[in-house]
């Protein structure tokens, strides 16, 4: 076996320039694939994190249909005791009850329609990053207080600051008129205009009183330590729901169906491009290996005449290809990892990207994430196609006739 290896190794270095060019094609696409896939992995993770930590969390308990329709009467009854029970039974404190209503908020000068969340001041900071984004004033503290925290753009448009009063008008759970006077205690700034323009948070108990909720709410948000852990919590949460109530547990892709589909759409167009790249590399390899077989016709003829089987010669060609492929693979992964690692520290920006990034809750710089998968996926597919490309040249060997082959050249 050893001699075959040595033979193959020597053969690929007969034309160093050709071998380097072919391996160069592999290195080029491997570097690109490693970088792009790492960038995608990083981007998707960031997109999911940033979107989920605003409001939706990893998982929610809701009434069936609430996620699509958000109707006032699609309630979770006794929402605070339920959240308490989940916290105790699961042994985690990243559980928070919420209610949501649409209302009109008026200051002295302006009136805007906004989404108003009723939240548990004590637990909301554990499931959402909004409380941490309060730029001026403070977050809510008392569940019964008539306080409100609102987005920076909304505050600016309403022309209010911390300490000012607002009136809130809406309709309660039973359709009756709901009204409240609230004091602005804090203003949050997420940097996402839509969020900063359209939301306000008030304490849950006060919300329930104002909107005649009778102890009910609309969602219980549950976060795991990570998305994967949240998956494991799901059956436990299901088991803990009161049996007599019609409630559902929705995981993040049910809560944000658009997010997953967007990632899928983005992935399929990216994979189309990667596939083309791989195909082009395969062409390059096919060309090289076919040339290398054809120019050795005479030599192979001699080998056949000496009693070597065509199958063995075919394996030799495949082995040569595999060696070249490995060269491209190793160099490609190393260079790709280096480039990607450098960018993962310094970030990556593209002109015009910041405006687009904001749309998807992303910062203006992207940081690729180097993982085992992102390092190996692209290069191994390239390697596989490299081997596939050598099959045709290897098969052609079988058609060689020793005497004719020796006459060639």
């Amino acid at each position: 076996m050893n001699i075959i290896f040595r033979l193959a190794w020597r053969n690929i270095w007969r034309h160093p320039r050709r071998t380097w060019l072919t391996a160069g094609a592999m290195v080029f696409s491997n570097v690109l694939l490693v970088f792009m896939i790492s960038l995608q992995v990083g981007m998707y993770a960031m997109m999911i994190d940033n979107t989920l930590q605003l409001f939706s969390g990893h998982m929610q308990v809701q009434a069936p249909g609430y996620n699509d329709e958000q109707k006032m009467r699609q309630i979770v009854p006794d929402v605070v005791p339920l959240a308490d029970k989940l916290r105790r039974s699961l042994g985690i404190d990243t559980v928070a009850a919420r209610a949501w209503a649409f209302g009109l908020v008026s200051s002295e000068e302006r009136t805007y329609g906004v989404g108003v969340f009723g939240v548990e001041p004590e637990f909301e900071p554990k499931v959402s990053n909004i409380p941490g984004l309060v730029e001026s004033g403070r977050y809510l503290s008392d569940s019964n207080a008539n306080e409100v925290v609102l987005g920076a753009v909304l505050a600016r448009n309403l022309r209010v600051g911390v300490g000012d009063e607002l009136t809130l008008l809406g309709s309660g759970r039973d359709g009756s008129f709901a009204a409240a006077i609230l004091t602005v205690v804090g203003i949050f700034e997420s940097g996402i205009t839509d969020v900063d323009r359209n939301f306000a948070e008030i304490p849950l108990a006060y919300f329930q009183e104002t909107f005649y909720m009778d102890g009910a709410g609309h969602q219980v948000v549950i976060n795991g330590a990570s998305l994967d852990e949240a998956k494991l919590l799901e059956p436990k949460v299901k088991a803990l729901l009161p049996a007599d109530e019609d409630l559902v547990v929705l995981d993040w892709d049910a809560l944000q169906p658009g997010l997953k589909q967007m990632i899928q759409a983005d992935m399929s167009s990216a994979f189309f491009m990667y596939f083309i790249l791989v195909i082009l590399v395969a062409f390059s390899v096919l060309n090289t290996q076919l040339m290398s077989v054809l120019e050795r016709t005479h030599e192979f003829g001699v080998a056949l005449a000496l009693g070597l089987s065509a199958g063995r010669l075919g394996r030799l060609v495949l082995l040569e290809t595999a060696m070249m492929g490995l060269l491209g693979l190793v160099l490609g992964v190393i260079c790709g990892a280096l480039v990607t690692y450098w960018v993962s520290i310094n970030g990556f920006a593209y002109p015009g990207m910041d405006e687009m990034a904001a749309m998807f809750n992303l910062p203006d710089r992207m940081y690729p994430r180097v993982t085992l998968l992102s390092l190996s996926l692209g290069p191994s597919v390239v390697f596989l196609f490299t081997l596939l490309a050598a099959i045709y040249p290897a098969i052609r060997l079988r058609r060689l006739h020793p005497v004719e082959a020796m006459r060639a050249n």
Partner: protein, 410 residues
């Protein structure tokens, strides 16, 4: 120069001497060119559709607002002109279409639910050119004039509010004195739109009805103008700017929807990056092919040189060979791209990921768009870069010492 026809014939014959190698390379170039153009036409089509959809809601290519309106879209920040003044200002200018309208945030309530919406007070006749509403698919009827007292809302919104044609809903919004104006409207029609989100967010009433309801006299909050091409809005912008005074801002659509504007720019960049990446992947094979082609005929090259052929002719011959190779591949690739894009121009249904595409701001049908500009860009980039890539092997071929080359044994 006299040599040129001869060199062409030589190059062409050399190309087919090793037909397998040439065919493989032509195959690679064909796939590459096809992928360049096909992918570009898909993204072009998507962005084109997004911008068109976007402009239909924005709407218009050029818009006139009160300077404070864009950040604070309140009725307090309406246009400083009366509608009559506006009509006079633009009466003599010929735009493809223009309209003035009332556009303010409002709350709509049925007996069941309340939602925040954008209220559009429009003159239906003037809006036809702008709107994202599919007029043929309106359930019930659309507004019949600026004085129509009914309201038209989206189907999705009607579902949420649990209401329908003939039912009454209440609109609430702020009037100029920050009192809350409210009024009941009868739903006369339900519209459908390309994107579900639009159906949830917009309601239409007659312009005069809205002005009366909001106590705003003869004023409006915006005027919108449509030019001939969304990619070139400057002529429209200049004409509108010339007609108004300093009390308002005149904006181009991409200044208002920066996401779409950025998208358009990023896509232009993307097309170029994609073409160059594909070319680089191809270039290794191309150079390799040329190196081999030179290598296997070193002796012939030596002989030609010895017989008095100029080195520049050898150089030219190799470059012509490379260009011919690229041309054949590009031609096939272009034809293949054309043959695959044209049947798909009726639209590709990608509704499996409709919600995701909506987050991009795109509808769920993709209409590929073959643009001559992109095809030319791809072909020119490949030929120009291909020329430079073949310089090195061609140069080396032309520098051989005749005697050494002739006596070279493999």
């Amino acid at each position: 120069m006299r040599m040129l026809p001869v060199l062409f014939r030589l190059a062409w014959r050399y190309l087919w001497r090793n037909h397998r190698r040439t065919l493989i390379m032509v195959g690679a170039i064909t796939v590459g060119a096809w992928a360049m153009i096909f992918m570009t036409s898909l993204t072009r089509g998507m962005v084109d559709q997004m911008v068109k959809d976007g402009i239909s809601v924005l709407p218009g290519h050029v818009q006139v607002h009160n300077p404070d309106y864009l950040d604070d879209p309140s009725i307090a920040n309406r246009l400083p002109y009366t509608d009559t003044e506006l009509q006079q200002m633009f009466a003599n200018d010929k735009f493809r279409a223009w309209a003035s309208r009332v556009r303010v945030p409002a709350v709509v309530s049925s007996e069941r639910e309340s939602r925040g919406v954008t209220l559009l007070g429009i003159d239906p006749a003037a809006e036809r050119a702008f709107s994202f509403v599919d007029y043929d698919a309106v359930e019930g009827r659309f507004l019949d004039g600026p004085d129509d007292s009914g309201i038209v809302i989206g189907k999705e919104l009607a579902d949420t509010l649990e209401t329908g044609v003939g039912k009454r809903i209440v609109l609430m919004s702020q009037d100029p004195d920050n009192d809350i104006a409210d009024r009941g409207f009868r739903i006369v029609g339900l519209f459908t739109a390309n994107m579900p989100n639009f159906e949830k967010s917009y309601v239409f009433v007659g312009k005069h009805t809205a002005q009366e309801f909001l106590h705003m006299g003869d004023t409006t909050t915006e005027a919108v103008f449509l030019g001939d091409d969304y990619r070139n809005v400057e002529p429209t912008w200049e004409r509108v700017s010339a007609a108004v005074d300093g009390g308002v801002v005149v904006s181009r659509w991409y200044e208002i929807d920066t996401y779409l504007g950025a998208m358009l720019k990023v896509m232009d960049g993307f097309v170029l990056v994609w073409v160059v990446v594909i070319f680089l992947a191809l270039s290794f094979g191309l150079v390799n092919t040329l190196v081999m082609a030179v290598f296997e005929r070193i002796r012939e090259i030596g002989l030609m040189l010895a017989l008095g052929m100029k080195p520049s002719s050898i150089l030219g011959q190799i470059i012509i060979e490379s260009m011919l190779l690229l041309l054949v591949g590009l031609t096939l690739g272009n034809l293949l791209a054309w043959a695959t894009v044209v049947p798909l121009e009726g639209g590709i249904d990608i509704s499996v990921v409709a919600k995701g595409m909506e987050m991009f701001g795109s509808g769920s049908v993709l209409y590929p768009k073959l643009m001559l500009k992109d095809v030319i860009l791809a072909d020119v980039v490949v030929l120009v870069l291909g020329f430079f890539a073949s310089l090195s092997p061609a140069w080396r071929a032309s520098r051989y010492e005749p005697v050494e080359a002739i006596t070279k044994v493999e």
